[in-house]
Symmetry: C2
Subunit: 329 residues, 2 copies
């Protein structure tokens, strides 16, 4: 999370004015959107990140910048732009050897997939319920269940078991009775049958040519392996909480999996749609890529719509990630 | 390792006469080679296994069977054959969900690959040595190094480190001096660059359509992942000593990896070219497939030329394994 390396940049913008800085970019007609992305990536500063959000993700111009601030900012941007233009946009990421991916929400659409799976089961069995709400309620029990393990109050327990316990709780809450053990196991394994986002396979296929790719998920190895086969994910390796015996965002979850690949933390990039996951990974030295998934939680999603940290790459699809990392199409 | 399930088979051949039984098969003109394979697979008896070796692997006829013995054996074979003919040849393996593979020697040709890699390095640096002998000497230090860890005399240590230590020992023994740390790391990683046997990729590609496939090797995760990319092995998951934190043939190495896949031991089949590996896996309940690799140790190989235990499948290539497990081409 370094400061800008160009010592010529004397005037460092006040982060408090970040939301007002974007028209400094717009006003500077010589800077294109790709340039702005490059500046953001290289400088790793929240001030640029916020601007990039408005311009590139929310696709709107933030409030105008005061004239005095503009006078300070534009020269800094111009110097930075010239410097960056002479470098590869990914030269500073050349030490990254492996891309590891958050899975639920980042690689696959858990909400749509689970709701469809439950609805199909309900239709077959004549069970009526609001399956989308059921899905959201199931996911709401995910973090509390893992917290029992993270805190050490409970011995190491894989996610399949936590999912099953949460399911049983919800079936009681919804008054759904008469399911067999086999039914419950079948429904628990709906988490093994999640479908990828439309850009996932094409992006992974390109990224795999240049990097080791694998999940780094709180899902267990059996779950991730079966999901990989179901969804056709071309993983090189299956990593996650179970191979580290620690749930994200605990530091060990990232560090032990990097070690399993014989890599230093900085040689591994976490790709995730969740800022808190990226923050925890960055805190222990991993490189970071934010991929926005604005409908992960449905049309009313309020969090993780945009990057909120100084991530190395910010994009909105795996194909976009492959572009930024210059992986051939 | 059950007895024949057909209670009509009253006369059970004496295992001590196994090597003399094969002409009972030959004499019984109604039994084709595929039938003999089926009988072997289904009965899981050493007596049939030995015959199958002679007929199918060594491709020679064993010594003649005494007439008295022949009279006892042929009716048993005929009954068995009729029963088996009505079943799928792999019906008894229908519970197998995952195939896990020994890697060094079974999936890849370590000896040829390492010798080529070392020779190329030597030619580049002007270092003359008998690189094939060096390769054999390097491999000879493999089991003793792991034994230190297996016995608990040494804390858990991954194979890359053991390989590096053995390499340093050998460089001294061969009087090869002046290599840098980077050179030694490069040579150690020759074990990441092993080439597959000619049938490996075609066989794995077919087997992957029906089974979860992954290595179950004493190689560490980083080694196996990079080898997979180097050789184009279409693994679904990377398993091995490191994910179990136990070297084969310790029971934990098989059992913990089966558990990582959410599978019972009997739902996992070990595929290996080494009888001792299969024996250890079978002892803890795994299904077993022997794939002969008669040149793994070079033209003078004396061990593991044929199966020596009651393995579920015996074949001589991964394509042959895919055929036996009825995986579509």
């Amino acid at each position: 999370m370094g400061e800008p390396k160009d010592s010529r940049i004397k005037s460092k913008p006040n982060i408090k004015t970040a939301s007002n800085l974007s028209d400094a970019f717009l006003a500077c007609g010589k800077i294109s959107k790709p340039h702005i992305r490059i500046i953001y990536t290289w400088t790793q500063r929240r001030v640029y990140l916020s601007i990039a959000h408005h311009l590139l993700i929310r696709r709107c111009a933030p409030p105008p910048l005061p004239t005095a601030a503009r006078a300070r900012i534009i020269p800094a941007i111009e110097i930075t732009t010239k410097r960056i233009a002479a470098e590869s946009s990914v030269a500073h990421l050349s030490h990254v050897k492996a891309l590891v991916f958050d899975v639920f929400g980042t690689v696959v659409d858990w909400r749509g997939s689970i709701a469809r799976d439950l609805a199909a089961f309900g239709a077959q069995r004549g069970i009526a319920a609001d399956w989308v709400r059921f899905t959201d309620d199931w996911r709401a029990l995910y973090q509390p269940a893992m917290d029992e393990v993270r805190t050490g109050r409970r011995a190491w327990t894989i996610l399949d078991i936590l999912h099953k316990e949460s399911l049983i709780t919800l079936l009681e809450r919804y008054g759904i009775k008469g399911l067999s053990d086999a039914d419950i196991d079948h429904l628990t394994r709906a988490w093994h049958r999640l479908d990828p986002w439309p850009d996932t396979i094409a992006g992974l296929t390109r990224l795999k040519q240049r990097y080791i790719i694998g999940p780094m998920s709180n899902g267990n190895v059996g779950l991730l392996t079966r999901m990989g086969k179901h969804a056709g994910l071309p993983w090189d390796v299956i990593l996650g909480a179970e191979t580290a015996r620690a749930y994200k965002p605990l530091p060990e979850s990232y560090l032990r999996n990097a070690a399993l690949l014989n890599l230093e933390p900085g040689e591994v990039m976490l790709v995730a749609a969740h800022n808190n996951d990226l923050a925890a990974a960055a805190a222990v030295g991993l490189a970071t890529a934010f991929v926005s998934r604005p409908t992960e939680y449905g049309p009313g999603q309020t969090k993780d719509l945009a990057a909120t940290g100084p991530w190395n790459v910010v994009t909105d699809s795996f194909v976009g990630l492959a572009d930024k990392l210059e992986c051939p199409a």
